[in-house]
Symmetry: C2
DNA sequence: CACATCCATAACCGAAGGTTATACATACTG
DNA sequence: CAGTATGTATAACCTTCGGTTATGGATGTG
């Protein structure tokens, strides 16, 4: 009488999308597989969760009930994973820190060094998160803390310490016509296709396609990527241009990509983020202290 | 990164038993299968949950953390199932009522009839529960309410209405020497082997082997059964005798089984039980009202 | 009326998850 | 100290499950 939580996750996706096909896409799953999963869940619970129609999947009464209750189950599991992760951290003297792209840039190493000074015998394990996971593995207990760029979804559910800001620039293929200019104005780029993060990343995605700063002009999306390497490849392939932190020019220098300064966009903010209440005097607190020591 | 809750359930069993072999037994699983499950869970979480030794399995730090967090996850799932069940009940006009053995005896039909009078168009589905499930499917959302005999484990986590009591008698094989007596004294039966319910049923099991009423004399267990039919078969086979409600003589009359009155044991109490707070004015409340109308 | 959309079904395939039998290490016991 | 009991790990095997692609059928839509 137990479920695989994956079924619950799938159910939640279908309930949210109201559509099998799109939900399947979001879950990186084929549509027939999702059909099977939902059917399996319905069989397990002994009741229909959706009414099928040609316009999509609509929740039934029991379906509504499950949709309301499912987040609590998934949340409890996430909490369990965080607890296990925390215990493992303390038992093995390893702090796991997530990051997207270049973490805290040049400050990363000094921060880690300062932490090791406070906690001799501890190690720091850096772990790259996918943009597909909006909060970088923080709520799943994959990592104890993460270097994140603000804003990101559900940001206020976490504690964070802002470390620094840096200007943003434009990344484009080296042979892109715009690469001829030494400096760009963002208002000249409104019609260019942009490489974007997945939709699920909400405010993060919006920030990096500057959704707010284009005076209502819609964004053209050239490609959607989840990892720095894919992102670089898409840019180099000419699928579009992208906003990037200035430091990308140093950490992701490639012969087929050009980075140019741009005016008219706000800088990017890097912060250290951790789950609410997790830094109570332990090793994580020391890492936070080490990081903030290098904050601007 | 999602688990099958079965793994969590298995983990909890191993954590509680401190022993793979016994936990496997309790889960009706082979020991190698459990080994695999635990290993799989450890792999999923990326940390060791137990330290293996020849004396059993001891929890590690992360293991302790998971053991502390697992009940919340399983509880959330149970709550979800109950919510779905409640919605399904209201959507389909079917009230599902669990029972062990003979439910409310001869009062069962009148209760249902009275309920249908209050709720025309509704049906009542009776569903037998296994003694292996101490609370008769109540917390898993299998049923909306259940006819239970008191006491049963975690009884005070539920709401209940006592319906009636009835004397208990002794059931034994028809050719058992004691069957010659028209009436028995319990103090003469202390050395007889008894057919018992599974250990997991705690107070319920104790009540039916009269663990408290034998002056410290240990019980001999002749067999452990989970269902009335198995119970009857064990008795008929001569594996032991058993305490039974008087009504069993009517509802479970068999040529190979004799029921005899016994003195020196308290009567059995039948109650209607339902999850706390579930009877808020709905159909379940009407069923409770119908049942209590036939209470003593 | 053609077309796009969306869910269901079929056929297929590899991996997962269970079983029994057995090995191996340690602790207890006569 | 040998022998036995207890406890977990491994091996070999088999069935079921969960995923894939390809295709069908029903229903709104331009």
């Amino acid at each position: 009488m137990d479920v695989d939580l994956r079924l619950l996750r799938s159910f939640a996706a279908v309930a949210a999308e109201g559509n099998l096909t799109r939900a399947a896409e979001r879950l990186y799953l084929s549509q027939p597989a999702l059909t099977k999963q939902i059917r399996q869940l319905e069989h397990l619970l002994g009741t229909a969760l959706f009414t099928r129609s040609k316009t999509g999947m609509a929740l039934t009464g029991p379906g509504e009930a499950l949709a309301a209750a499912a987040p609590a189950v998934l949340g409890a599991w996430d909490a369990a994973r965080r607890a296990v992760r925390a215990a493992d951290r303390d038992a093995s003297n390893v702090l796991r820190v997530g990051y997207l792209a270049s973490a805290a840039n040049e400050r990363t190493r000094p921060i880690i060094a300062a932490f090791r000074e406070r906690r001799p015998g501890w190690r720091v394990e850096l772990r790259q998160a996918s943009w597909g996971d909006p909060v970088g593995g923080l709520d799943s207990g994959d990592v104890d803390a993460a270097f994140m760029r603000l804003p990101f979804p559900r940001q206020d559910e976490f504690e964070l310490a802002v470390l620094f800001t840096e200007p943003r620039c434009i990344a484009m293929a080296a042979d892109h016509p715009l690469a001829g200019h030494a400096e760009l104005r963002f208002e000249d780029l409104l019609d260019e296709p942009f490489i974007a993060a997945p939709k699920a990343t909400g405010a993060f995605r919006d920030h990096w396609i500057e959704a707010e700063g284009r005076g209502g002009r819609p964004v053209r999306i050239g490609a959607v990527t989840e990892l720095p390497d894919d992102w670089l490849s898409a840019i180099a392939a000419g699928d579009g241009i992208a906003l990037a932190p200035e430091s990308a020019a140093r950490f992701y220098a490639r012969p087929d990509i050009a980075y140019r300064p741009v005016t008219g966009v706000a800088p990017s903010t890097v912060a250290l983020v951790w789950p609410r209440g997790a830094a109570g005097g332990g090793a994580l607190a020391d890492f936070v202290a080490a990081a903030t020591a290098f904050a601007d």
